[in-house]
């Protein structure tokens, strides 16, 4: 089974091809250039390196969100375009699950933290039983206080990772009451290989979708929709008084 993995949900752009138990190629860049300019050239590069016949791919796994709205759409549109051209199914991987899976096999709890701005983090809490990962808290957008409170209740050693770590480090160091540490550089950001390996598991259990049906999962409304909802709420309050 050969899975192409894509992740452009954050600052990192990453593409990988995983076949059964082998990572054939992975290209990850964490640099300011826009994903629109990097993602497909990176895929082109690794495809040439490993003489990849695109038709031999079984499915395309993509980090579906949360993340940067534009970044997610670049990844999704790339996956959808490939799916359409190659007539292959897509696999939508929750971004936070993908980050957590970098630490597959850990005996500690794993808590990815993405910087979600607006005083929030995209996060979740995971534990591993061998290769299989279980979400104790599924990915969500919450304040750092909320997730650290939950981490504290588990009373287990916890590894934090993700681009939210530098943002929330001070808070964690002052408020986290369980033993904790931060994942090292090679494991602490989005990696398309992790997305692709989770993709294999999804594929094996039939969790695939058509390229047409795939859409990002932002975990958040757009600003205009939020303001509209707020207006409606205010209006309803006004009429109920």
């Amino acid at each position: 089974m050969k899975i192409l993995g894509l992740d452009s949900s954050g600052l990192v752009a990453s593409v990988a091809v995983v076949e059964d138990d082998n990572l054939l190629a992975e290209y990850t860049v964490n640099y300011k250039k826009t994903h629109s300019q990097t993602l497909l050239p990176m895929l082109d590069e690794i495809a040439k390196m490993i003489e990849l016949d695109l038709q031999t791919i079984d499915a395309i796994a993509v980090a579906k969100g949360p993340g940067s709205f534009t970044g997610l759409r670049i990844g999704s549109a790339t996956a959808k375009g490939l799916g359409l051209a190659l007539d292959k199914p897509l696999i939508s991987i929750p971004t936070v699950d993908g980050i957590a899976y970098n630490l597959c096999g850990s005996g500690n709890l794993v808590c990815p933290l993405m910087d979600a701005r607006r005083n929030q983090t995209y996060t979740g809490l995971y534990e591993f039983c061998g290769k299989s990962m279980e979400a104790l808290v599924s990915q969500c957008a919450v304040g750092i206080e909320e997730i650290i409170t939950i981490v504290n209740t588990f009373e287990r050693e916890t590894i934090f990772l993700g681009d939210g770590v530098p943002v929330f480090r001070d808070y964690i160091e002052t408020h986290c009451q369980v033993p904790f540490w931060f994942a090292p550089a090679h494991l602490n950001k989005q990696r398309a290989s992790a997305v692709a390996v989770l993709g294999q598991q999804y594929y094996a259990s039939g969790k695939v979708e058509t390229a047409a049906a795939h859409r990002p999962d932002y975990l958040r409304l757009s600003q205009a929709e939020r303001e509209q909802l707020e207006k409606q709420r205010q209006a309803e309050k006004g009429t109920s008084l």
Partner: protein, 349 residues
């Protein structure tokens, strides 16, 4: 991007799949040899944006990604072609809303990469101008073209396919934008263009003398924020004096002020450059009063007047496919690093 004019193989029927997502329409089309449209699918989000009184960029981008594959698949199905039949994949890469453009650009790049087809990035305005080729087989450059839409107001001299000279442009609001803002001011809602046009039919275009701004250092440039402000001032004046407001007269007089300026500039260019063909394009080009005014002005000057059908005035992908065909012939090919360029200049490559 590189041009490889000489390496091109000769082929009778060039089929292009074109994608357009620069604003609030998700569109895909299949064109044959540029001027024959085999399919032209447009999924409009207009109902959604009405709720907000205008296009919300983030919502537009979200809708594009949800609809894009269905729209492309429908375009291929309607054309009765497969991706394999295509000679190139074309996409609008600017100008427009960056988030919206990026969906089409990333999708088109992935399709051309996956299907091993050349990629051609197209300028949105070049698309609008090219819409005139579709229904007018006799139209060939050089000619003059006025592009008027919600985002653009350009008076362009089309020297050749892909070769443009911008004579004038708006210094502030686009003509269509002024229509939207005035419509909002007189309570008509979004989108303003068709609503103003409809209401103006019942009004007197000479009732109120709104200003027709000239731009001192640019004889062909436009300025529409003045007339928009004049409408708002007029409304406020009426309110203060307790005078009744005749919305139909305002609509008719405002529309007249805008259209007269457009026609004057256009005819000035016709005189100066001595061209005998004049075309209009863009969303506002479906305004019946503008068309009629231009047609008459052109007739008086003995100039042939061209305009696309309304469906080809609005944002669509057929026009992108038409523009792409001439780019294809010129050897334009883009690389996998093609990016969306929200303020892309016409003629920039």
């Amino acid at each position: 991007m590189k041009r490889e004019r000489n390496k091109m193989e000769k082929k009778d029927n060039i089929l292009i799949l074109a994608i357009e997502t620069s604003c609030d329409e998700t569109a895909a089309a299949v064109t044959q040899n540029g001027r024959t449209v085999l399919s032209n699918v447009i999924s409009s989000q207009i109902e959604l944006h009405k709720l907000y009184g205008g296009v919300v960029p983030e919502i537009a981008s979200r809708k594009h990604i949800e609809k894009i594959n269905q729209v492309i698949e429908e375009a291929l199905r309607e054309a009765d072609k497969t991706l394999e039949d295509m000679d190139a994949i074309a996409v609008t890469y600017g100008p427009g809303l960056v988030g919206a453009l990026l969906v089409g650009v990333a999708e088109a790049k992935a399709i051309s990469f996956g299907a091993k087809k050349p990629l051609i990035g197209v300028h949105h305005i070049e698309g609008h101008i090219s819409a005139n080729y579709i229904e007018n087989p006799d139209l060939e450059p050089p000619f003059l073209c006025l592009v008027v839409s919600g985002g653009h107001t350009h008076l362009v001299k089309v020297n050749d396919y892909g070769s443009y000279e911008i004579l004038g442009r708006t210094r502030d609001d686009a003509a269509g934008e002024a229509f939207d803002k005035v419509a909002r001011a007189i309570g008509l809602g979004y989108p303003g263009g068709p609503k103003i046009e409809k209401l103006a039919k019942e009004g007197n275009p000479m009732a109120i003398a709104f200003p027709r701004a000239k731009v001192a250092d640019g004889p062909y440039d436009f300025s529409f924020s003045g007339v928009k402000s004049a409408v708002i001032n007029y409304l406020n004046g009426c309110k203060m004096k307790g005078e009744p407001v005749v919305a139909a007269d305002i609509a008719a007089s405002f529309q007249n002020a805008v259209i007269q300026v457009l026609i004057e500039h256009a005819m000035m260019a016709v005189e100066e450059f001595g061209l005998d063909k004049f075309a209009i394009a863009g969303g506002v080009a479906s305004n019946g009063t503008l068309r009629e005014g231009m047609r008459r002005a052109c007739e008086e000057k003995g100039v042939r007047f061209y305009h696309p059908s309304p469906i080809l005035c609005t944002d669509n992908a057929a026009m992108i496919g038409t523009a792409a065909y001439y780019e294809y012939l010129a050897g334009t090919r883009h690389g996998w690093n093609l990016n969306a360029v929200p303020n892309l200049k016409l003629g920039q490559r």
